[in-house]
Symmetry: C2
Subunit: 77 residues, 2 copies
């Protein structure tokens, strides 16, 4: 099974949610992607249906938008 992917952009809301998600799921059980730094993965996140960060993409392809840090449009700048 694929790992869930946690997309974030380094914002305070993102950092807080990352901490919580890693505590809940386990560091080895989630891939963390900083789309503010790794901009090549913005398109992949958008195609998966991610509209804002932080967000968790489940192995089944569902998107869990967690709180609200920044829109994808904001990240793209």
């Amino acid at each position: 099974m694929n790992k869930p992917i946690f997309y974030h952009a380094g914002c305070p809301v993102c950092v807080s949610a990352e901490y919580d998600i890693i505590n809940l799921i386990g560091k080895d059980n989630v891939e963390v992607v900083h789309i503010g730094e790794d901009r090549s993965r913005i398109e992949e996140a958008e195609k998966a249906g991610i509209q804002s960060v932080p967000a968790l993409l489940t192995p089944g392809g569902n998107v869990l938008h967690i709180n609200f840090g920044a829109s994808i449009a904001d990240v793209k700048g």
Copy 2:
């Protein structure tokens, strides 16, 4: 350590998120509370800072609002 608590109100967004959270964290590692049915726990959820459901309250006391199903005001009716 306390378990995280997943608050929901039976809405479609809630049911979908519940499925995902249980898959990610494990059924035995999260308490699921339906505040539409167990209305005595609405106040507790509000005090914890939950503004909408579905939401996950972490053992550390942080609230992760997950997507958006219904506001607490909607649940109170």
